[in-house]
Subunit: 241 residues, 2 copies
C-alpha cells in the first residue's frame, strides 16, 4: 500500500463552481494522469475512491464534478440537468476542458500522457474531448456509448474502449450499433465489451433503496469493468515509458 | 522464463487419430489445466505456442487436434470438413470429450480445475462441452459465437467469455445477437467483446499470401484477445486456490 495525497479542487465550469477530487501518487516528478468522469447522478465517493485507486497504482487522477458540488439523487432533477447537457456537445466539452485544465495544471501531471475515462454522463464527456481533438492516450467509458456530431469522431486519435450492460435500456442495442458504426466509419481503434445481464449503471453500488427501472448494480461485472479499465490504462498509459 | 515440457499425444476421435500438443508447467503436482481448441484450419504452431505460453504461466495445456493431424489450408477442404462438424453438436462433443479425457489423464492435471478455450471451430467445441454439462471453470472463445440446441445452454455453469471482430462476416451481428440471447435466456454468466474493425480469424497470423474475403490478421486486437483470455483464466482458474 502506497501513500497517496488527495485534494479537493474548486474550479469554474458551466456557470458553476465545480468541486473535483484530485489524487496524487506517492513520489515526486511528473506521472501519467487520468481524468475520471462520474455518472450523471454526480461525483460521489464511488468515483473518488476510483481516483484514489488509480493514484495507488501511480497515476495522477482527477475525479471531476458535473453539477457544482451537488449530488442529484432525485432522478427527476438528474434527468432535468443531464438530458440537455448530453444533447449539447459544446457544453460537455467545456466541462471536460475545465477539468482537463485543472489536471494539466497539477505539477505531478505529465501533460503529454493523459487518458480520459468515465461513467454515463462523465463517459460521454470523455468521448466529446476526443471528438474535440484533444490529445489523449486512451478513452474508456462505461455505459456511455454516446454518438457525436457527424464527422467529429475522426478527430479521436487514441484507442477507445467502451463497456455496456447487455440489458441496459438506456444504452440500447440500437445505440450500441450506432456508436460502433460511428467509431468504425471514423477509423478509430475501438472495442466494446457487452457484460451479459447487466443493467444501466451496473458498476455503481446502490445509491439508496429506490428501485429504478433498468438500473442495477452487478458486482461481478463491476469488478470486471474496473479490471478492463485498468487493462486499457496498462496498455495505453504505461507508468514507465 | 520457466522450463516447460511438451509432448505430442495421439488419441482416437471422430474416426481419426488425433495428434494433440500437451504442454506441462515446471514443478510437480497437479495444476489447473486448459483445453485449447484450434481454428477450423487445424492445429498449428499458433495454438501449440499458446499452449506453451499457458504452461509457462503454470497451467497444464492441451492444444487439441480437429483433423487427425492434418492442416487444411485449402479453404474448400476446410469447409467441407468443418461445416458438417459445426452442424453436429454430438460430433463436436465427441472430439471435445476425447481431448478432455487426454487432459484429465495427465497426472499433472487437477481434474477439478479445467477451463476450455478455443478459436473458431475449436471454440465451438469448447462451448458444446459446456452445453453438454461438463464441469468447467471457464469457457473462452474467439470468433466462435456459435449457438447450440434449444435449452442446452442452461447446462453451462461457468463464466463464458467470447471475443469477435466487428467486421467478421461469418460471426455476423445477427449471429452475435443470437448467441447473446441464448446465453442470457439460459442464465449464463457471459460477456462478449467486439474488437472494432477486426475480421474473422483476426487473432491468427496469415497462413499464406492468399487473400480470403472476410478473413484477416489484426495484430493489435490479437494481443488484446490473448490478454483477455489470460484475464479470464486469472479470474476463473487461479493458479493457487
Amino acid at each position: 500500500m502506497t501513500t497517496i495525497t488527495t485534494r479537493t479542487v474548486a474550479y469554474p465550469a458551466d456557470g458553476l463552481t465545480m468541486i473535483g477530487h484530485l489524487a496524487l501518487p506517492s513520489g515526486t516528478g511528473p506521472r501519467p494522469a487520468v481524468l475520471l468522469g462520474p455518472e450523471g447522478i454526480g461525483l460521489s465517493d464511488v468515483e473518488r475512491r476510483r481516483a484514489d485507486a488509480l493514484a495507488e497504482r501511480g497515476y495522477v487522477a482527477l475525479a471531476f464534478d458535473l453539477h457544482g458540488g451537488r449530488y442529484l439523487s432525485a432522478p427527476e432533477e438528474m434527468l432535468a440537468r443531464c438530458m440537455p447537457l448530453l444533447a449539447d456537445p459544446d457544453r460537455m466539452r467545456a466541462i471536460g476542458h475545465a477539468s482537463l485544465d485543472v489536471l494539466r495544471a497539477e505539477p505531478r501531471t505529465d501533460p503529454d500522457r493523459i487518458a480520459a475515462i468515465g461513467y454515463g454522463t462523465g463517459g460521454a464527456i470523455a468521448l466529446e474531448l476526443g471528438r474535440d481533438g484533444v490529445d489523449l492516450r486512451a478513452i474508456g467509458t462505461v455505459n456511455a456509448l454516446t454518438t457525436g456530431r457527424p464527422g467529429e469522431a475522426a478527430r479521436i486519435r487514441c484507442p477507445v474502449w467502451a463497456g455496456v450492460g447487455s440489458e441496459d435500456p438506456i444504452m440500447s442495442p440500437a445505440q450500441r450499433d450506432a456508436f460502433a458504426a460511428e467509431m468504425q466509419a471514423a477509423g478509430v481503434d475501438w472495442r466494446v465489451v457487452v457484460y451479459g445481464g447487466a443493467l444501466h449503471a451496473f458498476h455503481h453500488p446502490p445509491v439508496d433503496h429506490t428501485v429504478r427501472p433498468g438500473v442495477g448494480h452487478h458486482p461481478v461485472h463491476a469488478r470486471r469493468a474496473w479490471r478492463d479499465i485498468l487493462g486499457l490504462l496498462d496498455e495505453c498509459l504505461p507508468l514507465t515509458e
